[in-house]
Subunit: 807 residues, 2 copies
């Protein structure tokens, strides 16, 4: 049982509060053994400058405070250690103080006025830069590079080897029959052996495919392990945690950015069942974090920085799907914790800038904003809601199953020897993927291409296998009317069915490996395949049985009533919804892909069903499940605290424990204070009365005492420490006392012992607290930290409370 | 100076805490003298049922509490008076308790399980009903009726008098030249005198136009005054206040709904410069409030009800503009206070249902979802951002000016005799409007028609005056190329310029009259006219001077480079943005009108400029200005509290005042308690220690004592009242003591006296408090109420603190 008081996570041993930020210790986080000295490339921002205590507002004396030059300039006071939670209230208060100071100064001189104007517009400028950088350099670059590398697995362009397949054939001057069979593009077999047909050439291409896949994935995993362990995974669980106020130094640093960008391209090109959309959010957040250094306002304030990161998450989705509004709603719904209206507006701006930058780069070559441009010709009918809801159920079931299986697999990786060989794991999975994927054209193509093909509405002249309908000339009705399936289509359906099973299985073991990997595309692919299969099934049913009662009245012979592409789209939304539990943002992203309001209703029906079904098996989405797996201190804002416990049941000390460790406002010595163990202490009037005066962090205490020792004469271990307004009376021969009122938080949050925990949790969430004191009839009784709450919640849910690792 | 303690507004005299809810007193609110007995048609919901104290959670003893049958069933405890602010924390806690109870019961029996399922889905069902009702019965009905009545001012359909002009001519079998000059539709002059041309006929039509306008407005204002005074205005300021937690009984009642629906049609038809979009939000909220009665969960809980109302606001905008996503963002950005993610998702659902219901009714006759469907052919060029920003500046200036002028006029109405003759005012303004509007075809048509015409992109065959270009056959370039303006267009421009001045002036005095009136359409009309004028100007400039350097490279001769309709749209967005200060939602609504992502950038540039320019003159939008004008207790969530005062500067009692009125936890008698004056009291251990135990409302105290007198023997004025766990020792002959711990809030919020006010304001906003106690070193010092904060803010802004009327 933990002792009462406020401990900062399980890392007390490793990260002693007075440790330097750049210590070289190894910490196991997210299953990876990380070397802090190499990842901590971003200077610990909060210690980068002096935090004037006079302007933090939390010292509470306001403008009338007597300035104490010693206290005011202690560097490091008010900053945070790594793997700790920030205090939102303190950060926001600091920012308001800074703003107030600038506003006051701006009335005095023109220079100051200009400075204040710059300050006011720096947020917008930052957003512009984030949008431009994420949209162009990264998203565009990643798209182009991934396209080229993916095609390299199949062959090479003879005229210019840096052209991808499509581009190569566009540039071709020669005539050729099929669009993608130009003479300039040669498969590896053709290049090496000169033969493009036959079993030998096939095997040759097969081998080269596997070779490139292994090479890419080996490069990716090696780079990640060597330079930036934080670059692995999708990054969204960690970003959610960071946005909720946690500090992981280096997670959004420049090395992470560089390595993640490169390895993302490699991982996607290696043909693994992963997408680049989720990691793009991480990449955009890295950009934003690095750009924050340019502006003092954002560099020095953890809360303000998180506002920018929220906007960056929107930018990430905006460039991933070309859906700026969907991106903003994704940030609001899925990743952000504190999302004021100002941030909404700025995110929207940044998302738009990014989307337009991307469009001007035109990586998809279709001058469209969106990844999958879809245009459907036929409306849908109310009867079709039934299959759409079916797809929703499938999506929900698959989402729930996927989360369980993936978490079980990741837990296995953490707890068994499997986790010790990440490179081998990646290579084995890549080899398996390549081996199984090559023979099937639907798994050989990249996830995005597959989805694009499945969403496609067959036109009359479409040569793709999926549009292999028999031509019938009934003479009546629409030229796009439903037609009977032909040989080609049946083959395609078999292949799709195999692809579905393959994708479902391989994605479970792929997500969570030590390479950058997103879930959006694989989830959507699974759903799109299922949807397309159902769609074609419905279409054939309607064609052969248009006299059935369910088709009566809307689907006569020769009419174009079923659009299999729409089913694929609905299926994709359902599966993505089941896995991530996104709702509004998902529907809006899909709406932005099609541009037609009328397809919102099917999407909504499927997403809603999928969420309900998946929620029935477990309320957590994949990101929340990974957060919990890694023991991050994340207080889910969506879930209600349902239990009827009171603050007194959760607080420390428990009834059997020794009393709470407190400091008294006078009468303690420097030595006594230095020999304490907890991270923070309430300060009381006296041990007897237990009347609360304030709260002080051990880190700030030690920094201040250290500083005082250096700068003030006569501070020894027996010097008295006092937190009261006036120095206590002392014997004349005593050493001079040390006044530490300046570092004390004079407005600690308190709740009474009778406060129901649901209210307490609400307060923690809404105000972003990291601790709260508990009183009874005006006397201090105990303390509740965010970790205590999370442990309590884990206990209620019959989980191991010790799985919560950080504070 | 007010006395220390917690007073409930300035209405103490009128609304004594123990008064019945249905008192007949007259209260002046929003400038209207209202008769409560007639408007309070909706039963005061919160007193409708018994609120079991055992399930409120705020009594704090949790599940282990000994059940005290007397305390548990006191009706009315925990409810609110009219014109008071709710306590969000208490309401949400109540709902969680209710939910917990249902969940616990659901494990016991199948019936209870079904009940719990019903309860879980009741929110969705309610949303469906709100969407259906608002979309169909109201929005559709209002559209159709307003269309018909508006046309009635000009003439009548001979075949079927209930057809409007357009419908009448559609139904016509005869041939006629101009689309809207069918023989079936006869102007009044034609009908009465048989002549359709000439001065006499013109005057005849003019007179009839004025007659109908006066008749409609007279009817509207009379109905509003007689049956539902709350039906006047746009309703958005009041809804914002209600959503922030204020209670105005009857504001969303069934009479308000009926009367507002009818009078809205009349007011719009009378030709006054007002729109129906804002009031539709009020109408949708009334629907939602009435439908809430069907579900206990929403009927009995003020916080839950507000979630539904937030969604209803989204529905209102969704049906007004056919923009469901924009509607949801409008609710989030502009009107809502507490908008959890669950509400976001449900609002979206309701908004979609409403939009599709409206579409199936098809009131605009174009089977489009949107009010103004726009399709532009030409893209815009970067150079055009300059005129777009100019439009933004115009919009911002006009917005700021409009708000000032309108508020000055409304203040005048409140303070002078003008306010005593609302009927005459409405009639005079209607007469003026009709007199001036008839001669100009652009003011004669309704606002929505005008905007629609201005947004329109001229095709070659367009016969409208605005498309009166000279036909040139250059032989080169686009058939839609820029052409020189002809006679007709010059006439149109003159008329538009006059219409602009007229609309700008008349809207100032129209908004705020005692008829339902929205601002969206008039504001957009002003901006659209200005935009179209600028657009045509730019077009002619480009035509005649395409060799100028600004047109070089993108606007050669014979090209279609300038789209005046787009300018009109940007201007409309800018002006609406300047008046309401909407940002994201405005851009998204406009985006949903056009459906093209590429026009977002001009819209965004104009909206941003407009907001910045308008904010430079005053940070309040029109709705906030009206809220302040009416003295509602609204704590603006968007604005930061900038001043550096501390809690001790704001709290009551002030330094010179007598000490805070408190109750002690024992030792007081029933008589002493009953003779108190304030609305609420902190309960302390003893007068000496001032250690806080809890907080109790006078209303709850009086209700409980009343109840105890009726049900418990021997309660007299000298009976002791105690709030402690155990009864105090008493002399044996004393009357039995009364235990009131159950009605005491055992977890009152406290802050220390040193807490900066910015943090305190944040706490109030985020938690939705109505009061907060102030302590110093564990002793109770004072109290801060929402009203105190608002007064303090008014004082800082150099406004009259007494303008804040309510608590």
């Amino acid at each position: 049982m933990e002792n009462p008081g406020y401990r900062s996570g399980s890392f007390d041993g490793l990260h002693h509060p007075s440790d330097d930020d750049d210590d070289d210790e190894m910490v196991d986080i997210a299953g990876a053994t990380l070397d802090f000295s190499s990842t901590d490339d971003v200077p610990p921002l909060s210690t980068a400058g002096l935090v004037s205590l006079n302007s933090t507002g939390m010292n509470g004396n306001g403008p009338s405070k007597l300035v104490d030059p010693l206290e005011d300039l202690v560097p490091g006071v008010g900053t945070y250690e790594d793997f700790n939670t920030i205090d939102w209230v303190r950060e926001k208060s600091k920012d308001r103080d800074r703003h107030r100071e600038i506003t006051n100064k701006s009335r005095q001189s023109t220079v100051a006025l200009l400075h204040s104007l710059c300050d006011a517009f720096s947020g917008w400028l930052l957003m512009l830069l984030v949008g431009l950088m994420s949209g162009s350099a990264l998203a565009g670059g990643i798209d182009i590079a991934a396209h080229w590398l993916s095609d390299l697995k199949g062959g090479v362009c003879l005229t210019d080897f840096w052209f991808n397949h499509e581009h190569c054939c566009w540039m071709s001057n020669e005539t050729f029959q099929e669009r993608d069979r130009c003479p300039e593009w040669q498969s590896w077999a053709e290049l090496i052996t000169g033969k493009s047909e036959g079993a030998f050439a096939y095997i040759m291409n097969y081998m080269m495919y596997i070779f490139w896949a292994l090479l890419f994935s080996l490069l990716a995993v090696t780079l990640v392990r060597a330079f930036a362990p934080y670059a692995c995974g999708s990054g969204i669980p960690e970003i959610k945690t960071i946005l909720s106020g946690f500090i992981i130094r280096g997670y959004l640093g420049k090395w992470t950015l560089i390595i993640k960008t490169i390895t993302l391209v490699l991982a996607v090109s290696s043909g693994l069942s992963l997408g680049k959309e989720g990691p793009l959010v991480h990449v955009a957040c890295c950009c934003a974090n690095i750009l924050c250094h340019l502006f003092t306002k954002y560099r020095k304030n953890e809360a303000k920085r998180r506002e920018v990161l929220s906007a960056a998450a929107a930018v990430g989705v905006s460039v991933a799907f070309g859906a700026p509004i969907g991106g903003v709603l994704f940030s609001l719904e899925e990743v952000s914790y504190y999302f004021p209206l100002k941030t909404l507006w700025r995110s929207f701006f940044a998302a738009l800038v990014a989307a337009f930058t991307l469009r001007s780069i035109n990586p998809f070559g279709n001058s469209r904003l969106v990844l999958f441009y879809v245009e459907f010709h036929a409306p849908w009918h109310l009867v079709e809601l039934a299959p759409f809801v079916l797809l929703g159920i499938f999506g929900g079931l698959w989402g729930a199953l996927f989360i369980r299986a993936n978490i079980a697999w990741c837990r296995r990786r953490k707890s068994t020897r499997l986790g010790h060989y990440p490179v081998i794991e990646v290579l084995v999975v890549t080899a398996m993927t390549a081996l199984l994927a090559f023979p099937n054209s639907y798994t050989r193509m990249s996830g995005a291409e597959l989805i694009s093909e499945l969403f496609n509405d067959c036109s009359l002249l479409d040569s793709s296998q999926l549009c292999g309908y028999k031509q019938v000339n009934t003479g009546v009705g629409n030229s796009l009317a439903d037609r009977p399936a032909g040989e080609n289509l049946y083959t395609a359906l078999w292949q799709l069915a195999l692809a579905l099973i393959f994708k479902m299985l391989i994605t479970v073991i792929t997500f969570g490996m030590k390479v950058p990997s997103g879930l959006f595309i694989p989830s959507m692919a699974v759903g799109a395949i299922a949807g397309r299969l159902l769609g074609v099934g419905m279409e054939q049913l309607a064609y052969y049985h248009h006299d059935w009662v369910i088709f009566k009245g809307w689907c006569s012979q020769g009419a174009d009533c079923i659009t299999p592409g729409l089913y694929a789209m609905v299926g994709a939304a359902a599966c993505l919804g089941g896995v991530t539990r996104m709702t509004v943002s998902l529907v809006v992203i899909m709406f932005e892909l099609t541009g037609g309001l009328e397809y919102i209703v099917p999407l909504m029906a499927a997403t809603m069903t999928s969420k309900w079904v998946a929620d029935a098996f477990g309320r957590e989405g994949i990101y929340e499940a990974h957060i919990r797996l890694n023991g991050y201190p994340f207080l889910e804002p969506k879930e209600e605290f349902e239990h009827s416990s009171l603050a007194v049941d959760v607080m420390r000390p428990r009834r059997s424990d020794p009393a709470l460790a407190v400091l008294t406002q006078d009468g303690m010595t420097v030595g006594e204070v230095e020999s304490t163990h907890y991270s923070g202490f309430p300060v009381v009037v006296s041990q007897e009365s237990q009347r609360l005066v304030g709260f002080v962090f051990r880190r700030d205490l030690l920094i201040s005492i250290d500083n005082a020792r250096k700068r003030q004469e006569g501070i020894v271990s027996t010097s008295q420490v006092f937190f009261s307004e006036h120095a206590p009376s002392q014997p004349p021969d005593a050493p001079p006392p040390l006044r530490l009122r300046g570092i004390m938080d004079l407005s600690p949050f308190t709740v009474t012992d009778h406060t129901p925990m649901d209210i307490t949790v609400d307060i923690f969430r809404k105000l972003g607290l990291r601790q709260c004191l508990v009183t009874h009839n005006g006397r201090l009784l105990g303390i509740i930290t965010k970790k205590d709450i999370l442990k309590h919640m884990a206990q209620i849910a019959n989980r191991d409370p010790d799985s919560i690792l950080f504070n």
